[in-house]
């Protein structure tokens, strides 16, 4: 499957935001390391760490990867300041909402998670300052990863789309699969394309940068970027007349209520949820209720047994 993340692309879209001396350290990575690069972590006063597939490695001062963290290049406060300046285009004021949510999305759909001093005001986050660590999460677009599940998404008799829930623990490729399903449904071939609304609360599905999707989510897709799921689903029904609503990580009561509204409005839902297995999913009251009500007709369970995106089970769910 074509993993869209060549070394050139990673260098241009991710490494270019790092200070020049750190960029040089990371230029020594091998092509296969770039292809599996998932995270770059900068913690003030701590070693520079990268996650490549299942391995977590420090990057030495000479630019070599090592399992010995103390040998890693020690990240300076100035490095953090420069990265913050770079990812925000020296304009933190233009990213207030993103900072409150704890991350900034950069062109290419990659996300930079932020940690620092959080200032609260009336029980909500007013701002974050004095940043202490940053985590670059490389967005992976794996076109074609949905191919094995596409035939199961549609009812064989009526040809209608099943409401589908993708379930897995974190880092197993739920969002990547969801994105590719969205693209395929929106493109349509071989079935007619459907109008899709993506309610992308954390900018992970479409990776929008200044409102423009950086990852391919298809030609018939509208994106409500940074919008809370429950509000977004209701907005979508009222304003965008979608045939399908796609959203990530449902789990709150308000999400469940919005899902029910979509179903009653005749809109299909494709979503994801965090859980190791069906049993664990059943232990979450809100998801258990949705399943008991027969909202989701198809459940896809993923794991990381043979790398991210391993499809463990495709369950046709019949509540009765």
């Amino acid at each position: 499957m074509p993993v869209v993340s060549s070394p050139t692309q990673i260098k241009r879209e991710v490494l270019s935001y790092l200070p020049v001396h750190i960029q040089r350290l990371l230029y020594n990575l091998k092509v296969e390391d770039y292809q599996q690069l998932e995270e770059i972590r900068l913690r003030c006063g701590q070693p520079l760490v990268v996650r490549i597939g299942e391995r977590e490695l420090a990057v030495s001062r000479e630019g070599f990867l090592t399992t010995l963290l103390p040998q890693g290049y020690r990240v300076e406060p100035d490095d953090i300041c420069r990265v913050i300046a770079s990812i925000s285009d020296n304009s933190l004021y233009a990213f207030e909402e993103d900072i409150r949510r704890g991350f900034i999305t950069i062109p290419g759909g990659h996300r930079v998670g932020l940690a620092g001093q959080v200032i609260l005001k009336e029980q909500s986050i007013e701002l974050m300052k004095n940043f202490g660590s940053l985590c670059f999460r490389v967005a992976r677009e794996v076109k074609g990863c949905a191919d094995p599940v596409m035939p199961t998404l549609f009812s064989a008799s009526k040809g209608t789309l099943h409401n589908t829930l993708i379930v897995s623990p974190p880092r197993c490729g739920k969002t990547t699969l969801l994105r590719d399903i969205t693209r395929r449904i929106s493109e349509g071939a071989p079935r007619p394309g459907l109008n899709v609304v993506v309610v992308d609360e954390r900018s992970e599905i479409a990776g929008c940068y200044q409102g423009v999707p950086q990852l391919d989510v298809g030609p018939r897709t509208d994106i409500l970027d940074g919008c809370p799921k429950d509000i977004g689903m209701m907005m979508a029904i009222r304003a965008l007349s979608p045939q399908v609503v796609v959203t990530d990580e449902i789990g709150r009561q308000s999400d469940a209520e919005a899902v029910m509204e979509c179903i009653h409005a005749g809109v299909n839902i494709i979503s994801t949820a965090h859980a190791e297995s069906l049993e664990e999913l059943r232990q979450r009251p809100i998801l258990r209720k949705l399943m008991a009500d027969g909202v989701f007709k198809l459940i896809i369970i993923l794991s990381r047994r043979h790398g991210p995106g391993q499809i463990e089970q495709v369950i046709r769910w019949d509540a009765s």
Partner: protein
């Protein structure tokens, strides 16, 4: 005798021009402080209300600002626009450096403007508003002082040069 007369005229003229340029400097400083204050107001609007990215906000401000105050914004916009990891602080200081060679500002004025460097772009809109408003207020005070200096010293500089030239001539005779 003729040479003496020419020499006297030259001394008086040189001192007079020096005095006049001093008077002009006072006028220009007052004008330039006003221009910088207005430009910072424009920048504040772009940052706090339009949430325009800093490099573009600087560029727009430069377009609406007169020389030499324009230099600080134009140079900073160019530095930030290159996206070579330059911070807003570094870009602003470079802009100030470019302007100080062309402007009639005093070191304390430049110091005041440089105090913005560490705060530019690194906080939310409300903090940016506070920093920019405070600097405009400070510049306003500086401008008032410059005006008072202009009122009291303009004539002194304008005529003082010629008087000093004449005094030197008298001493030499």
């Amino acid at each position: 005798m003729m040479l003496k007369a020419i020499g006297m005229v030259m001394i008086i003229a040189a001192c007079g021009v020096w005095g006049l340029s001093g008077a002009k400097g006072l006028e220009k400083r007052q004008e330039q402080l006003g221009e910088l204050k207005a430009a910072l107001g424009f920048l504040e609007k772009e940052i706090c209300f339009m949430h325009t990215n800093l490099s573009l906000a600087m560029q727009k401000t430069a377009q609406f600002t007169q020389f030499p105050a324009r230099l600080v914004f134009a140079v900073a916009a160019r530095e930030l626009g290159q996206k070579k990891g330059v911070t807003a602080e570094e870009a602003w200081l470079k802009g100030l450096q470019a302007m100080r060679q062309q402007a009639q500002l005093q070191p304390k004025d430049i110091e005041l403007l440089a105090s913005l460097a560490a705060q530019l772009g690194v906080s939310n809109a409300s903090e940016q508003h506070k920093a920019l408003a405070a600097l405009q207020e400070e510049l306003s005070l500086q401008q008032q002082k410059a005006q008072r200096e202009l009122d009291s010293n303009h004539k002194l500089w304008s005529y003082g040069g010629f008087i000093m030239g004449a005094a030197i001539v008298l001493l030499l005779i």
